[in-house]
């Protein structure tokens, strides 16, 4: 997996792999695969809680089902090992 990321705050990480932008919440068990990188980057600059980001992103992108990633723990552990997130 070729990716890099930034820990935004204690909850949220911003990760970019070679295909897509991903926002990860360690608390909410949610990963957002964004369609628009600039908007999602803007949202994490202005809102620190994942609930707020999800609420806005749902409205902006007209998405009803943000899926809780089935393998989120595995994914997060993988990224932690690589030092992408804490």
């Amino acid at each position: 997996m070729n990716c890099h990321g930034i820990q935004i705050n204690s909850e949220i990480s911003w990760v970019i792999d070679n295909k897509r932008t991903i926002i990860v919440s360690s608390k909410k068990n949610v990963i957002i695969f964004s369609m628009d990188e600039s908007i999602m980057w803007n949202l994490i600059q202005y809102f620190s809680k994942m609930d707020d980001i999800i609420e806005i992103a749902k409205a902006v992108f007209n998405i009803n089902n943000f899926q809780a990633h089935q393998k989120i723990e595995t994914t997060l552990n993988d990224w932690r090992k690589k030092g992408l997130i804490q």
Binding site: D36, I39, N42, L43, Q45, Y46, F47, D52, E55, I56, A59, V60, F61, N62
Partner: protein
Amino acid sequence: MNWVYILPILDNIILYAPLHGISAYVNSLAVKRLKNAIDSGKNPECKELMSLYSVLNNKQVREPYKKKGEIKPDFLGVIPTRYCNANCIYCDFEAIGPIQHIDINHAVSCVDWYVSRVKNRDGEVVKIHFFGGEPMMAPKVVTAVVHRARVVTNSMDLIPQFEISTNGQYSQKWAQFLADYFTSVVLSLDGPKNIQNFHRPLRKSFDSFTSAVRTAKIIGNSHAELFLRTCVSKKNVNILSDIARWFCEEFQPTKINFEVMQETPKTINHDLTKPDPYTFSSQFIHARNEASVFNVPVVYGADFDKPRWSSCPVAKDVVIVTPDGRLNSCYLEPERWKQKCMDLTVGHIDQNNKININSFSVNQIREMVWHKPLCEKCFCRWTCAGGCHVSQAKCNIYNDFCIQTRIITVCSILDKMNLGHLSKLLISDLTMMKVLAEQPSDLLSDLKLTTCM
């Protein structure tokens, strides 16, 4: 009705016919000859008046466009919340009932509906205005509306434009958000620190000056247009020129807007009163001249403009979505217009986020301004258009709002005619201002009833 007006200036007269697209500075003999010619249907006695006569005698005047058929909003208004973090002593916009933020899904549904309207009528620009309370007290709503509008307009090849009326009382980060995404920011700033903090204290602290100035600087240094809006009371009316110059030097605004404070029980408790309309008019024109050195226009809501039916969103088919999911044509609290037996609701959003517009209400509101009897004899009826349809009392005499509007509008007409020196003379002569402001009818057709000639 021919809609030709006569306005006394010094010993002469401005003949003003906005629907014919004519303004002329003439003497009283010329006016009498023109009136005789129009009344009799015969050419004027004087050849030099022929071209003016033939234009004025044309019964086919260009009234402003009347919207018909399905709703065609000039813009979409969004009130994210009625709550405000400021506690301005003249504000009568305070939220009634519990604090409520608009449902984000309601707001974006309105965006989708409005954008599709613009697209269907081959429009190019999508205009969204935020009103309050203070819109930035609901930043999630503002953010969602802005980004949703950008996403859908991008997919339809339309241009989004955002405007916000705001007090600037938030962090630098949010001021930068407005600077980055908004086309124009209407920021309230009432002048130097002592005035601003007296007029516009915050709920939790006294000082609103620091944040307002910081926000003004951020917006002024960005690509967004900065419109500085000052509420004028007796406290700051005599320093409008100083305020205008300070604004121009410090913030590089696109426009400055001076509006007169409305007196309320709260202002009376604070011993704050509105300025005398003649003082306001003359100080306004001085401030306008001061700012003209910087090429910054100074405006007044009911000032000279193209002929129009309304100087506010009402009757422009504007849809304003409110925190309770109603769609109104006016941003005031509904209780305000209900007190005047008016209904300015045009629709609602249902439980499925569907927009429901009541065509009957839309047409009723359009007709309300077309048939407004109040201003028939006033030359400002096609520009001021009666001001606020809710708060301007229906009476047959000019109130303070009318007086200042009449004087400022005449000065604007003179400026447009390159007769700015006459507007300076007018505002320096109280008697002359009163003759003009109190003329019972400006209509040429009522000439024999006037006493000024």
